[in-house]
Structure formats: structure tokens, C-alpha cells
């Protein structure tokens, strides 16, 4: 059996100006659920939309729901398997594609280690510190990252939000 199946983006969304027809061929790792993703997720956009993301099971479930509402044909009985496959293949901790993230040295402060441990599982820390953000926004982002699958207890999330606000806050 071949280890990967290769899928090119057959149909490109006409609405987007970028020449999507030239999308790269994408490799999907093996696993139960791969065939569903390969056949049900490739009609409207390149599979890079999937392979570039890292998120946990609940977030992938919502993602699949969203796609069903947009027209993806997945039978109800296939949902759980697909979500499991996506979370295992493209979940937190799975190396993300592209060149390694630029190293980031965080300023000292309460929460620094939590950020280093909890915020670099799905993308680099460079993404975390790329912009100054307001307090409300940091709260929202950390909450969202927890929804995505950042392994953080509520008090840890609060500490991180406070840390980021004090070091990378916008007025």
C-alpha cells in the first residue's frame, strides 16, 4: 500500500483572485479517515488549508461542521472518524509545515514558561509576539487558543493573558 495519496486541488474557488489552480500537491498522512478527507475536502480548496493548521479535536469538529454547511458531503456516521483523523494528523504537537519558526526570546515575567510550553505547539512563538494587542484581544485570543487545544488550565490561561498584556499590550 502506498503511504501517501497525492491530491492536487482540482477545483479552485472562483471568487479568489489568486491563481489557485497552481496549488501545490498535498500529501495526506496515513490513517483511518484519510480517504474521507481526500475525497470530501478537496473539491473547493487545496488541502493545504487543512495541512497548514494545527488544532485539537473540538476545533476540528467545528471546522468540519462549517464545511458541511458550505456543502462538503460527509455522512453523519463519518464525522467522528474524520475529526479523529484530522486531530491526530494535524493536532497540537505535530510539526507544522514550512521552515522552522524564528527563535523568540520572551521577556522575563510570570507566565513566560507557560507561554513557551503552551503556545508553541501549533505555531511558532513568533506568531504570538508578532503584534501588540489590547487587553481584551489577548483575553479573546488565549481563550480561542484553549478552544483550539492549547493544554492550559483556566488559571494558566489567565496568567498567560496577563503576561502577554503586560509585555505585548497595545494601549
Amino acid at each position: 500500500m502506498r503511504r501517501f495519496i497525492l491530491i492536487g486541488a482540482a477545483a479552485a474557488l472562483v471568487l479568489v483572485a489568486a491563481p489557485l489552480a497552481a496549488q501545490p500537491v498535498v500529501q495526506l498522512p496515513e490513517g483511518e479517515g484519510r480517504d474521507v478527507v481526500a475525497t470530501a475536502c478537496s473539491q473547493c480548496h487545496a488541502l493545504t488549508a487543512i495541512t497548514q493548521l494545527r488544532q485539537g479535536e473540538q476545533a476540528w469538529r467545528y471546522q468540519v461542521y462549517d464545511m458541511v454547511l458550505r456543502g462538503a458531503q460527509i455522512a453523519p456516521s463519518e464525522i467522528d472518524g474524520t475529526v479523529k483523523y484530522l486531530a491526530a494528523s494535524f493536532g497540537p504537537g505535530v510539526p507544522f509545515p514550512g521552515p522552522p519558526a524564528a527563535p523568540v526570546t520572551l521577556p522575563d515575567g510570570a507566565g513566560k514558561e507557560l507561554v513557551e510550553g503552551g503556545c508553541a505547539l501549533c505555531h511558532g512563538l513568533d506568531r504570538v509576539v508578532a503584534a501588540k494587542r489590547s487587553k481584551g484581544e489577548w483575553n479573546g485570543i488565549v481563550k480561542r487558543m484553549v478552544f483550539f487545544g492549547a493544554p492550559l488550565a483556566p488559571d494558566q490561561a489567565t496568567t498567560i493573558a496577563a503576561y502577554l498584556d503586560s509585555k505585548f499590550g497595545a494601549d
Partner: protein, 630 residues
């Protein structure tokens, strides 16, 4: 002097006599001339022979000739914004009760109102706008053009003797500017020719595949008196009710009967041809699964989305019903999907877009309504009732199982995603389905809105969906106004995104208030070009995604209060922030509409998809650029 003027108006004395008289009472020649000119008969219409059936000769200003030809075409409304040059058109309407003026305060809104009216009524809409405002109109003409909606757009052009002198508002040959988005454009070159040119323009606009047509009439011609013949426009109709060839119909009918795993896709041309009932009958007769509109590019939902035969979006490969052996595409511009081993038959009204990209095994140019009716008759004549029942039960049974499963899944999705504030799109979909009347015209101009629509029923006895294929935003509120004008006895909601609202600005609210259009405007405010960001981040995967810096799509800061905007136009409304408040708000909106008043609902909606939490936007403050506090 008063007496002189009275005599002139009553046509007791000639213009020359009036001039002499005015000079006699001490006026300069220039002043006298100007008075005489201002007193020219207002409507300018002096029939030179009695109306004789379908044709009559008349004398009048170019403006009056134009108006009378529109009247002879059954035009009831002119959607307009005025300029100095087109005044003779409005002069001619002073005493013409058959045609009503509908004013819009921005040309984009004028065209979108007309477009909504044309989509909902099937009639050709007429627009008159200032020549300098034409580029505003053109944005919305893109929707009209791409969706093949009949529209006549007229401007009063610079006078012929002024053209080419580089006058302040003269940009030469404005008519060619509209070339890519019209079926035909023309500049009138004589006053007497205006009715004929108008007939031609209306004919081109309405003949399927329909579309916008542009006519520039130099303002001197609109003022000039001429004699011309007004003719009943029906004499120039080109009926495009093309019946498909009987042999082709029989061949397709046999293929559909014999097929192992057939599918039908259905599109906007069925809506335009009013062939919904025939298409449904064909599908039910043969138990055909039906794929509907594409994710992008289509504007109506002609097949009942609650029918157990309805699959949803047409895709390049369909996991259900699987390997298709016969695919009938009925009037769907984006429905032609070729695949090995599949026979693709496409029945289209528009020969230019049939087989334009995709190889088609059997292309048929025909009216989709007549084609579906003929196919029904042919199928019935080929197969016995018993056999057809067997086929419909076999195929239909499989489709039913699939579509029921998908409705159940959507029910589960709605449950999983129903709570929390701001309101989720999915929840709003469920609530609208509960709160809106079945006969509602649902006019939509919102990008992420696509995820609330699968919770709702459209088509058949259910709500009517009206959107735009190309999604040129800023259309929705005005489009909803136009739909209500076409169907005053139906409930109308206009659903727009915050982005969409800001493209049109509040301008359509002016017309909604002025003409007491009892519709409900709904702004789905997620403070974002939400789907735009999703697509940019998702499909590009570029630096914005990688750094999490959304350079373009966040719309908050300022956090626009849309409900207040409506209040500025005297349109009452409210902001709905919690899902639990939706039903009560919908009830208040309905009560206002029933009472004859428009209503405005701003929903605070959750952003969704990649980068949804981000509120960051590139910082730039002009105040801090200053070196002086001025």
C-alpha cells in the same frame, strides 16, 4: 405681462408674439427669450394624431418621447437620481400618472433597487442617473450583468454642440466605459430617433439571456422638440421560449430512465424561466437527486431545499450519489462538471456559456421550463407508470436516506453551536427559520451568511431566495427595497453583512424611509470582512496567516453602531446581542412591517474561521503624525 403669459400657455398666441409683447413691456431680448423658453409646454406632449392601437405619432421634447415609449412598454417605475440635463424626462412625468419615480440618493443604490425589482418581478427595470454618477452605478451593474437581469440604464449626456470641448463634466464617450458590463450601449443621435433607440435598448435588455443596456441621450436632444412614432413594445419582443428538438428530448429521456446512477443539477436559468415546478416534477418522476447552486456565483434557489431529493451544492465530484453515469445540468451556469465515464447533458438558455469551459456530451439550447416539461412528457410516454414508480422509489429511497441524514446532522450542528454571545451564524439561521413567514422574500448580501442558509427552507412553497451571483457588495438593502416594490404583498427581509452595509452606506435607507417600504433590514455585524479573511488566510497561507497579522479585514475600531445610522433616517430598530433575544426582536420587526413601517435589526455576530479572534490592525494615526496641534 401676466395676461401675455396666460395667453401663451393657453396657446392663444405664438412664441414670437409673446417675445414681442415682453419686449414691449421693457424686457431685454435675452430675458424675453429666457422667459419664453421657461414657458415651453411642461410635459411637452402634443399628440399630432389620435392614439391608433399599437402605434401613434406624437410630437414632444426628446424627454417626452422617451417617457411615452417607456409607457408603451408597460414601464411603471423609473429608478432615478436627477441631473440638470435629464430634466426634460422629469418634466414629461409631471402629468404622466402611469409612471412613478423612485429616487435613490446614490447611483449604486439606484441600480441595486432597480435590479432587485427586476429579479423579483421578471420585468425590465429602468434607471436614469446623472452622467457624472455613472461610475457609481456601474459597480452594481456588474451584479446585473453577470446574473443576466434585464435593465436599461440611461444618462443625459453632454449636449452634442458641447461635446469634445473638455467642459468641466465632459468625459468623452462615456458609453464605451460600460462596454464590458452591458449587452449593448448606444448614444442617441437625433431627438426623433429616441423612441426607436429606446425600443431597441429595451428589446436587447429583455431578450434572454437578458442583461443591462446603456443609453446616453445628449441633453440637447432631450430638450429638442420632434415628431416620432410611439409603438407598443410588445411588437418588438423576441420570445426566447425555445423548445428543444423532440429527438434530443427523447434521447435524454431514455438516458435518464436507463441510467444506473443519474443526477440533475439546477440553476438560475430555471428561476429566470419560471421553470421551478417543471424541474421538480421531472426530479420526482424519476427519483433524481438534485444538486443545487454552487458555493459562489449563483443567486437563487429554484429547487425546494427541503425536498428529500435536494442534495445541496453541486461539486466537481459528488460522494453522494457517487459515480454518476448520467448528469443532466438544467440551467446552471456552474453545473457543468465533466468526469470520466459520465454522460454530461447541459440544457441552457445562454449559448455563450454552454460548454464554455467544460466538455459537454450533449449541449441543448432551450428554455429550461419548456425543456423540463417536454422531458416529463417524453419520460411518461416511454416508460409505463409502474416502471416509473419503481425507478422513483429505488433511486428516491437512496436519496431520501442521505438527505434525511444530512438534515439530522445539521440539527446536531445547530445544537452544538447554538449558545453564546455574540450570536453564531448557525443559531441565527435556526432562529430565522423559526421566525420568518414561509412566503418571505429573503434578500441576501452577506458573505459568511452562507453558513446560516442550510438551516432554512427555500424554494417551492417555502421562502424565496434572492441574492447576487458575483457578490458585488452593497446591493442588499436596495435589492430588498426593489423586491418589496415588485411584491408589496409579501414579507421581505434584506440580510446584509457589516461589510456589505458599509459598501452601500446608509443610502438605501433613505429610499426605504421615503417610500415607506415595510421591510426588515438585518445587519449581521461581526466587525469584519470575515470570510474574506478566512479565504486570504486559508487559501493563501501567506505572511498574514503565518504571523497572525490581519492586515486588511478587521472592521471594528471604530465599532460602528448601525442601528443609530438607521435612526438617523427615521427607521426604528434595535441591536440584538444575545441569541435569546432574537425571537422577540423578529416579532417587533414583523409588527412594524405589518403596520407599514420598515424595521432595522443589527445582530452582533461571532467572527468565525481562521484569525477570528484577532482585532489587531495595522496602526496608523493621523493625529500623531502632526507636528502642530491643528
Amino acid at each position: 405681462m401676466k395676461e401675455l403669459i396666460r395667453q401663451y400657455i393657453d396657446q392663444g398666441i405664438s412664441r414670437r408674439k409673446l417675445m414681442t409683447g415682453l419686449s414691449a413691456v421693457g424686457l431685454s431680448t435675452v430675458a424675453a427669450k429666457s422667459i419664453a423658453q421657461s414657458l415651453a409646454p411642461v410635459a411637452g406632449v402634443v399628440p399630432t394624431s389620435p392614439p391608433a392601437g399599437a402605434m401613434r405619432e406624437m410630437k414632444g421634447t426628446g424627454g417626452a418621447l422617451f417617457v411615452q415609449q417607456l409607457k408603451a412598454a408597460g414601464v411603471e417605475y423609473i429608478f432615478f437620481n436627477p441631473s440638470t440635463g435629464d430634466a426634460p424626462i422629469y418634466d414629461a412625468l409631471v402629468d404622466e400618472p402611469a409612471i412613478h419615480l423612485v429616487k435613490g440618493v446614490q447611483e449604486g443604490a439606484v441600480v441595486a433597487m432597480a435590479d432587485g425589482y427586476a429579479r423579483a418581478s421578471g420585468k425590465t427595470a429602468v434607471v436614469v442617473v446623472p452622467n457624472i454618477g455613472l461610475p457609481n452605478a456601474m459597480t452594481q451593474m456588474v451584479n446585473t450583468f453577470k446574473d443576466r437581469i434585464p435593465l436599461l440604464v440611461v444618462v443625459a449626456a453632454f449636449g452634442q454642440d458641447q461635446l469634445g470641448r473638455d467642459g468641466p463634466q465632459d468625459y468623452e464617450h462615456q458609453e464605451v466605459m460600460v462596454q464590458p458590463i452591458t449587452k449593448w450601449y448606444w448614444q442617441a443621435n437625433s431627438a426623433a430617433g429616441i423612441p426607436e433607440t429606446t425600443r431597441r435598448a429595451l428589446k436587447f435588455a429583455a431578450t434572454a439571456p437578458a442583461g443591462p443596456v446603456f443609453l446616453a441621450i445628449p441633453d440637447n436632444l432631450l430638450r429638442m422638440e420632434a415628431t416620432a412614432t410611439i409603438m407598443d413594445q410588445a411588437l418588438f419582443d423576441v420570445p426566447m421560449r425555445l423548445r428543444p428538438d423532440a429527438k434530443d428530448v427523447e434521447a435524454v429521456a431514455r438516458l435518464l430512465i436507463e441510467a444506473k446512477n443519474p443526477m440533475m443539477s439546477i440553476g438560475d436559468e430555471v428561476t429566470l424561466a419560471h421553470g421551478e415546478a417543471e424541474a421538480l416534477e421531472l426530479a420526482e418522476l424519476l427519483g433524481l437527486p438534485v444538486a443545487g447552486q454552487a458555493e459562489f456565483g449563483t443567486w437563487s434557489k429554484p429547487f425546494p431545499t427541503r425536498s428529500p431529493l435536494y442534495l445541496g451544492t453541486v461539486l466537481a465530484t459528488m460522494r453522494f450519489p457517487g459515480q454518476i453515469d448520467v448528469h443532466l445540468n438544467l440551467g446552471n451556469q456552474y453545473g457543468e462538471k465533466a468526469a470520466p465515464g459520465k454522460k454530461l447533458i447541459s440544457i441552457r438558455r445562454d449559448p455563450t456559456s454552454l460548454a464554455r469551459v467544460t466538455p459537454v456530451d450533449m449541449g441543448i439550447v432551450a428554455d429550461p421550463k419548456l425543456a423540463a416539461a417536454d422531458l416529463v412528457a417524453a419520460v411518461k410516454s416511454i416508460a409505463t407508470k409502474e416502471r416509473l414508480k419503481q425507478i422513483a422509489d429505488d433511486r428516491g429511497g437512496r436519496v431520501r436516506t442521505y438527505t434525511k441524514g444530512m438534515w439530522d446532522l445539521r440539527g446536531k450542528i445547530a445544537q452544538d453551536l447554538s449558545d453564546g454571545a455574540p450570536i453564531r451564524m448557525e443559531r441565527l439561521g435556526v432562529e430565522l427559520e423559526k421566525g420568518l413567514e414561509k412566503d418571505t422574500l429573503y434578500v441576501a448580501d452577506v458573505d459568511s451568511g452562507k453558513t446560516l442558509e442550510p438551516f432554512m427552507g427555500f424554494g417551492g412553497a417555502d421562502k424565496t431566495y434572492i441574492g447576487t451571483g458575483p457578490n458585488v457588495l452593497g446591493w442588499g438593502m436596495a435589492g430588498g427595497f426593489g423586491a418589496k416594490l415588485a411584491h408589496p404583498d409579501k414579507p421581505v427581509v434584506a440580510v446584509v453583512g457589516d461589510g456589505s452595509f458599509l459598501f452601500s452606506g446608509p443610502a438605501p435607507l433613505w429610499s426605504i424611509a421615503r417610500y415607506k417600504a415595510p421591510i426588515t433590514v438585518m445587519v449581521l455585524n461581526n466587525q469584519s470582512y470575515n470570510n474574506e479573511r478566512n479565504r486570504i488566510w486559508t487559501f493563501g497561507g501567506g505572511a498574514q496567516f503565518k504571523t497572525g497579522r490581519d492586515m486588511t479585514c478587521y472592521n471594528g475600531s471604530p465599532d460602528v453602531d448601525f442601528t443609530k445610522t438607521a435612526a438617523a433616517y427615521g427607521v426604528e430598530g434595535e441591536t440584538v446581542k444575545e441569541p435569546g433575544q432574537i425571537q422577540a426582536a423578529l416579532a417587533r420587526a414583523k409588527a412594524a412591517n405589518v403596520d407599514g413601517r420598515p424595521y432595522f435589526l443589527e445582530f452582533h455576530i461571532q467572527r468565525d474561521g481562521v484569525g477570528a479572534a484577532s482585532e489587531w490592525h495595522p496602526p496608523l494615526s493621523i493625529a500623531s503624525l502632526r507636528t502642530r496641534k491643528v
